[in-house]
Amino acid sequence: MGTRTVIPFGPQHPALPEPIHLDLVLEDERVVEAIPKIGFVHRGFEKLVEKMDFNELVYVADRICGICAFIHSMAYCQAVEAVMNVEVPPRAVFLRTVWSELARLQSHLLWLGFMADVMGFESLFMQSFRLREKIVDILEEMTGGRIILGVCRVGGVRRDVANDTLAGIVGRVKDLAKDMRRLADVFLQDDSVKHRMVGVGVLTREQAADLGCVGPVMRASGISRDTRTLGYAGYGFVDFSPVVETAGDSYARCAVRIRELFQSVGLIEQAAGKVPAGEVSVKVSGYPDGEYHSRCEQPRGEVIHYVKGDGTRYLQRYRVRTPTFANIPALVKMLQGCELADVPILVLTIDPCISCTER
């Protein structure tokens, strides 16, 4: 056994500009144990239920994350709508589906860029961000917001999108898919990329199940689970089956996200084609009395928004379980036995969103 050394990794480090700390116990260059530390910037959003009513909390949910904001607000609204028996108009339901998939596209492209950056592949990083920018532009045209869209409300959505605009957006996203194909080919076929990811940080199917993983981390280990199969929003009305890989390594996690890019393009086309005529919101009266665990599939995996109301305008409890929170135990296991140089790659392969986790 070599000499054991403890190396502090983070909270400031090159993998991502968000504060997560790891105490890495090394034998020579090999990690034998990793102890995570979060909570540097815990914001206590959930405690705002004491000051903000259930309608105002939509704005809070929209600001939990600076990447996957829309799905947070949708999950929160779905929870309150379930408690209050609010039926959202079908047009709003399908618009939410379209925005969810656009949010997934920009998030996965952001992740691909970060991964290229960590590997030192700067041109690939720039190509990923160039494509992401076009998705963000589309979101801005549709909603007025680029990341924090502010379009969800309890009872529907705040903005409508004209049908011909939707058709044009579908065409632009399909055109972007051709550029994504070229990007995907580099990620999946380039030797230098494969060298950094193939066989690195293997998480077996059994480990992924035991550790309660969610999202692409879990699906890359052969588990076919995706919250969209619950059929929330309009997902029950589109052809959908989870993207699954079986190798369980960093390359498989990358491959799942890349395949999900193209899946999202297809889902946007399907959902946009099903948007019916009608209102985009309904008037909501009364206060929430009851509880519901709403779950949606974020780009990083299953997110839970739990609300409990007691019949007043202020919720009794609002709790958010983010996908990164569920994937941290898997990261701890993944790091055991890896090389020190692979730590940034492995941290990134769970697509950590500390902003969400520090809600």
């Binding site: 206590g44 408690v83 079908p90 550790l211 309660g212 929330y232 309009g234 009608g278």
Partner: protein, 170 residues
Amino acid sequence: MGDDIKAGPAPSDLPPAPGTPPADSAPHEAPSGLPLNPRERQELEEIPVAALLERVQRLRGQGYRLVHIACTRLVADQEVSYCFDRDGQSLESPDAAALHGMLTLRVRLPMLNPELPSISPFYWGAFLYENEMHDLFGISVKGMALDFQGHLYTTMVPTPYVTKTADHEE
């Protein structure tokens, strides 16, 4: 099995909401057979703290997944909800694919010196939830797989979720 969580009737039982287009303009067919924007079936089972470990162990043996753990401050006490599901299977019939559901085990704890046993022997990843319970709600959890000794979260005041903001000086 326990009570259903109070979340209203299923969408199909509800009258059409104002502004909803008539049914004949419904958006095509659902390949999944699900209604538009369906609600999940969620069941609640209140149990005493003494029965928690045995019940969790049984769920683990039945293939349930720990979805999350949530604490809620009530007026005189607090409750802890352990939420589980079984992937793609209904809670009652393991053969009924694609009918999801969530099972919540709930225990009640006093506001003063609340204590719980750790479920990390059965669900290793529970250590994060349990450390969170300790840091934000002051619940002492015995036997955690990884104990941060109150240093998972950095907070301005200890156990901030137990005391309402109005009780503090703002």
